[in-house]
Amino acid sequence: MELPFGVLLWGIRVAFLLLIYLFLIRAFGVLHGALAGERDPSRSLGVLVVERSPSRTPRAGERITLRATNAIGRDSGNDIPLPDEAASARHAVLELRDGEWWIEDLGSTNGTLVNGVRIAKPERVRAGDQLGIGRVTMRLERV
């Protein structure tokens, strides 16, 4: 028995509308899954905790929220300015590369220390490592 053409046509039209809704349900499902995967979508990338500082900016104990790239130095134009005579104007860069933190010295006078050791080339920094720039020391923390 052949299906009446009108019924078929009606079926196709309903299918078209249903498909848009099915796509929407799937797409919002993917969106929800992606959001549930990371607890806070606007979570910060990492935090530097100031352990020792000779001046009040930054104070010892202060927590500095990190961006993907953080220029550190005596200049006020740096992302993390350290008004300390022992720090160079443009001292170092702390940068997130493929999910890992790396620090690079920018040819500073007094050098950059990772866990007390002066670095010669870009070094990987892990959570808990201590950074020394001028007379300021800071510890990397992951949130």
């Binding site: 053409f5 078929l8 046509l9 009606w10 196709i12 039209r13 299918a15 078209f16 509308l17 498909l19 848009i20 809704y21 099915l22 796509f23 929407l24 799937r26 797409a27 919002f28 993917v30 969106l31 992606a34 959001l35 990371e38 979508p41 606007s42 990338l45 961006r67 993907a68 790239t69 997130l96 590369r97 493929d98 999910g99 890992e100």
Partner: protein, 432 residues
């Protein structure tokens, strides 16, 4: 094998898009004739193949960014093709033209993914972008290449092709605003106050006034209300994002209203637009300038909850329905249920774009992604609002859906830029 499935969610969503494109095309074809011709499937199949090619390209290129934008834009464009097939007049092969434009748009998408190699580098040439934007914007006013179509002088023509430079200007301006606002965001750290009101520092006040003057100039010389509205709207939204000062936005809106009142008093074409919005059914307008909106409203009312069925409506009663009134035509045939689904697709797109903006690692990329999402959001709002007579009707196109080459090409470049911003985020954070 796992490398091939890296963008698995995207591929699975595209399967639904493929089903959607074929079903819609069959529904429209079946409503027109009782005999089924297999050649009619060529257009949706070609379209699906094209979108799958884009997916394969993203996988091959190793792009790690967002997997929702491509399927969502593809679903909207699929609905667009179904509608163009339905709405094309007998003497104009709009469907084939739209498919051709879709191929060009896919090429533009690929090019935007490939160049520039570093998307942040876009911020370095901000004054070049500004100059290019202004040149493109005034180009329709030039004598040889400028063209006036349907009362708006916003096209440039080269031989048989005509192009709306405004479409490209949108993206260029968002890149410029993002770079400009990133550079001057420091200024806001020291706000000066005059009583309770923050006084905008000069680097903010100047561009607000310049943008306003620019938008007004577009209305006066190019007779394009929609472009002016979008231009100012996108700028004010990005300014608010960069500064967090609602007062600046308020200032912009006050300037817009003040300018609107003056233009209404002095320019006849603005008067006609406002009058047809406020009283389209009055005797003097119903069969004149108000005819289009009146027919559109009848179509909306005819739709009901589930519509009259694809192919059963009377969309040819609306002049230029394929570019100005696709929302009304779609709603008439697929009903309120279809209209809600269509708007939900736009919501999904904009929501996703905003999430990309929130996560982007630098202020420039955040402002860029937010501005690009705003383009789609505002454009949808302005044209759907215009079609439904909530705001005055303007000649803005419904993104991805309406017939129109320049709009399709620039919107797909916009998708590519958003994917690139999310790709940078994924690489920085080390997520897949």
């Amino acid at each position: 094998m796992t490398a091939l499935l890296r963008r698995g969610p995207e591929l699975r969503l595209l399967v639904w898009v493929a089903a959607l494109a074929v079903t819609g095309s069959v529904a429209v074809a079946a409503a027109e004739t009782t005999t089924f011709d297999r050649a009619q499937l060529a257009v949706p199949v070609a379209y699906v193949a094209l979108v799958l090619l884009l997916h394969v390209f993203l996988v091959a290129r190793g792009v790690r960014g967002d997997q929702l934008l491509l399927p969502t834009a593809a679903a909207l464009a699929a609905i667009g093709l179904v509608l163009v097939q339905r709405l094309q007049p007998e003497d104009r092969p709009l469907l084939l033209q739209q498919l051709t434009w879709m191929v060009i748009a896919a090429g533009a998408f690929v090019a935007t993914i490939l160049i520039p190699r570093d998307v942040t580098a876009l911020s370095r040439f901000k004054w070049t972008w500004a100059l290019l934007g202004v040149l493109l914007l005034v180009s329709p006013l030039l004598p040889v290449i400028g063209r006036e179509i349907n009362g708006a002088r916003i096209w440039i023509g080269l031989g048989p092709f005509s192009f709306e430079p405004w479409e490209a200007v949108k993206i260029i301006m968002v890149i410029f605003f993002a770079a400009y606002l990133e550079e001057y965001r420091e200024v806001i750290a020291r706000p000066r106050r005059f009583g309770p009101l923050p006084v905008p520092p000069l680097p903010y006040l100047l561009p607000i006034l310049a943008m306003w003057a620019f938008a007004m100039a577009v209305v006066v010389f190019e007779k394009d209300l929609g472009a002016a509205l979008l231009f100012l709207g996108i700028f004010l939204a990005m300014l608010y994002l960069a500064t967090g000062e609602a007062f600046y936005t308020l200032l912009g809106v006050v300037l817009l209203v003040a300018g609107g009142v003056v233009l209404y008093q002095t320019l006849p074409h603005v008067q006609v637009r406002i009058d047809t919005w406020l009283r389209p059914f009055s005797e003097d307008l119903r069969f004149g300038p108000g005819f289009q909106i009146v027919q559109g409203l009848f179509a909306l009312a005819n739709g009901g909850l589930l519509g009259v069925g694809l192919g059963n409506g009377l969309p040819d009663r609306i002049p230029i329905v394929w570019s100005d009134f696709v929302f009304d035509a779609f709603t008439e045939e697929v009903g309120f249920a279809g209209a809600v689904a269509l708007l939900a697709l736009f919501l999904l797109f904009v929501y996703r774009g905003m999430l990309i903006a929130v996560r982007a690692p630098t202020p420039f990329l955040q402002l860029l992604a937010a501005g690009l999402s705003f383009i789609v959001a505002f454009q949808t709002l302005v044209i759907v609002g215009g079609n439904a007579r909530l705001i005055p009707l303007t000649g803005v196109t419904l993104p991805f859906v309406a017939y129109g080459g320049s709009s399709l090409v620039t919107n797909w470049m916009l998708v590519a830029l958003l994917i690139r911003v999310s790709d940078v985020t994924a690489r920085v954070r080390g997520s897949p």
